[in-house]
């Protein structure tokens, strides 16, 4: 532990404070389930949120195989569908309407502050050496605090609402909120096990050495195809970036920022084309009572294909 502390910079201390706050939010979601007399699957839901809180608050300081074991427990709890939302303090529609009329378009100010303060803090942090604790990641936390103060000051809302509404939204995101984090961890395991190398060996057959354009096309189309098959661009990103994006683009001199930013949205071109992404394409079709359940996908197909071509072109011109 002393060894960890010795290596910590102001930036990592600030980051740990924010991860601790996230842990508290998770614990509050668990507490909400604990206090809800009608909560379904109460025990498993509480265990999930408290364990998740524990990994965020203390995981950094403890042997990492403890967190690894807890992750296995997460998988078991979600596999048996044991994590479900509990009752939240939902705002009354009539009350929301009244507040909307009172505050008008001013209510957009805190939302704008959130996005702009993050950019401003990150920029200041990278320019001013004394402020270098404001890394891009910490800037998101700082901006969240500023935006919260801004909305509470503007509406004179009690702090209780920050807790009620924060836990309400977190509970509606639910356990899938940690999916991006787990997918990055999966990418790490894939790399450790050499999965990227195997995929790369297979793909190298279709990418002629030195052809940047074909490499961009294979990566973007690979992202879209994998997303079409799995219905989830996030999952495709871990696999295709490790297997194709890094060996054939980034290691050939492509800018990792451009490849990463365009890679995920290239995958979203696939999301527009697949019934696997039911929440975006099939459920809304039922909701809008379209004639065919594929009406939305058919409508999106031309735009998806144009956007895929746009991604390949942008990557080719800006990554190299």
């Amino acid at each position: 532990m002393a060894e960890i502390i010795a290596k910590m910079t102001p930036a990592t201390w600030v980051a740990e404070v924010f991860y601790f706050i996230i842990g508290i939010i998770f614990a509050l979601v668990g507490l909400k389930a604990l206090k809800d007399p009608n909560a379904k699957k109460k025990t498993t839901t509480i265990v999930f949120w408290f364990l998740l809180a524990f990994t965020f608050c203390f995981g950094f300081w403890l042997p990492k195989n403890i967190t690894g074991a807890i992750i296995i427990i997460f998988a078991v709890l979600t596999a048996i569908n044991g994590v479900v939302p509990s009752a939240s303090n939902n705002p009354e529609p009539a009350e929301v309407r009244k507040q909307a009329d009172k505050f008008g378009y001013k209510i957009f100010i805190p939302a704008l502050v959130l996005a702009l303060a993050a950019v401003l803090c990150a920029t200041l942090g990278s320019l001013v050496p004394a402020l270098n604790f404001m890394t891009s990641n910490n800037a998101i936390g700082i901006a969240s605090v500023i935006a919260l103060i801004c909305v509470l000051a503007m509406t004179k809302a009690p702090f209780k609402y920050a807790v009620d509404d924060g836990t309400r939204l977190m509970d509606s995101v639910g356990s899938t909120g940690i999916l991006p984090q787990l997918l990055s961890a999966l990418g790490a395991l894939f790399t450790a096990a050499g999965v990227g190398t195997v995929i790369a060996a297979g793909v190298s057959a279709i990418i002629p050495a030195g052809s940047h354009l074909i490499a961009c096309a294979v990566y973007c189309i690979g992202m879209a195809l994998f997303t079409i098959i799995m219905g989830n661009g996030f999952a495709a990103f871990s696999v295709i970036t490790v297997g194709i994006g890094i060996p054939f683009l980034i290691m050939q001199g492509a800018n990792p920022v451009v490849v990463g930013a365009l890679g995920l949205t290239a995958g979203y071109c696939g999301t527009l084309l697949t019934p696997m992404a039911a929440n975006f394409n099939i459920v809304p079709a039922a909701l809008l009572e379209t004639k065919s359940k594929y009406t939305i996908i058919k409508s999106q197909a031309p735009v998806a294909l144009v956007m895929l071509a746009v991604h390949i072109a942008l990557m080719y011109f800006f990554a190299f």
């Binding site: 996230i22 939010i25 967190t67 690894g68 992750i71 997460f74 998988a75 596999a79 309407r97 909307a100 378009y105 209510i107 996005a115 993050a118 990150a122 990278s126 990641n137 998101i140 935006a147 801004c150 909305v151 809302a157 609402y161 509404d165 939204l169 977190m170 995101v173 899938t176 999916l179 991006p180 787990l182 997918l183 990055s184 961890a185 999966l186 990418g187 790490a188 395991l189 790399t191 096990a193 050499g194 195997v198 098959i229 799995m230 219905g231 989830n232 871990s238 990463g260 930013a261 527009l272 909701l287 004639k291 009406t295 409508s299 999106q300 031309p302 144009v306 956007m307 746009v310 800006f318």
Partner: protein, 229 residues
């Protein structure tokens, strides 16, 4: 057998296609990959735990939820609906175009509008259908389906292509944590900045699409009148 290492990829694909629980699928894929690669159980748990802790970045979006939640309580969505209702003299294509603009901006600023159930069905679709009713008088199911498809699509375009412009978006953070984990030091600000071109172009493509939709509806209306004569 090198090819066995792809077991994790196979598990991810099968798990997502068959709609198994996503978290269990991902964890199982990780454990299976580690076992096939000859790692011990303790090694697997340690690798999993280490990367989970170092990738807490990807879950930073949680910090933005209290502020956004309170904004919603004080009428954020209601004012967005008020704004789109104030559009005058619209065609179906133009209503959809304005919605895509709002959805794109909202996604870039992390404002959650609630998507198809809370916005497209109760607000955008009735307005687009209303505009078509004013312009064409009667319109058939075929035209209605075109309007429905385009309305739902505009929600997806705005949502997908613009969300990564926000530094705290979970997609942006996934890109950052994945690349950092692989040894490439990128920041959320850089990824958000490089997500802007796609957001802008997707809106431009959407505008063209809406103009085409209006033309298509004009043509369908003419054909319909021709057919009934």
């Amino acid at each position: 057998m090198e090819i066995l290492k792809l077991i994790g990829v196979v598990i991810v694909i099968v798990g997502f296609v068959l709609k198994f629980d996503t978290i269990a699928t991902v964890v199982l894929a990780g454990v299976a990959t580690g076992l096939v690669a000859g790692m011990s159980v303790n090694d697997i748990l340690t690798t999993l735990g280490t990367s989970f802790i170092s990738n807490r970045t990807a879950t930073l979006f949680v910090l933005t939820l209290p502020a956004i939640g309170v904004c919603e309580r004080y009428g954020l969505k209601e004012k967005a609906i008020d704004f789109i209702r104030s559009i005058k003299n619209a065609t179906a294509g133009r209503v959809i175009m304005v919605y895509q603009a709002i959805r794109t901006l909202a996604a870039a600023f992390s404002v959650r509008l609630g998507g198809h159930p809370q916005f497209v069905r109760p607000v955008v679709l009735p307005m687009a259908e209303g505009a078509a009713a004013v312009k064409y008088g009667k319109y058939d199911d075929e035209m209605d389906d075109t309007i429905k498809g385009a309305s739902a699509a505009s929600e997806n375009y705005g949502n997908f292509y613009a969300q990564n412009c926000f530094m705290g978006a979970s997609g942006t953070l996934l890109i950052v944590s994945t690349l950092v984990e692989q040894g490439y030091q990128v920041t959320a600000l850089q990824i958000a900045t490089w997500s802007i071109p796609v957001a802008v172009i997707s809106f431009a493509v959407g505008v063209v699409r809406c103009i085409i939709i209006d033309k298509k509806l004009d043509k369908m209306a003419t054909n319909m009148k021709g057919a009934t004569k």
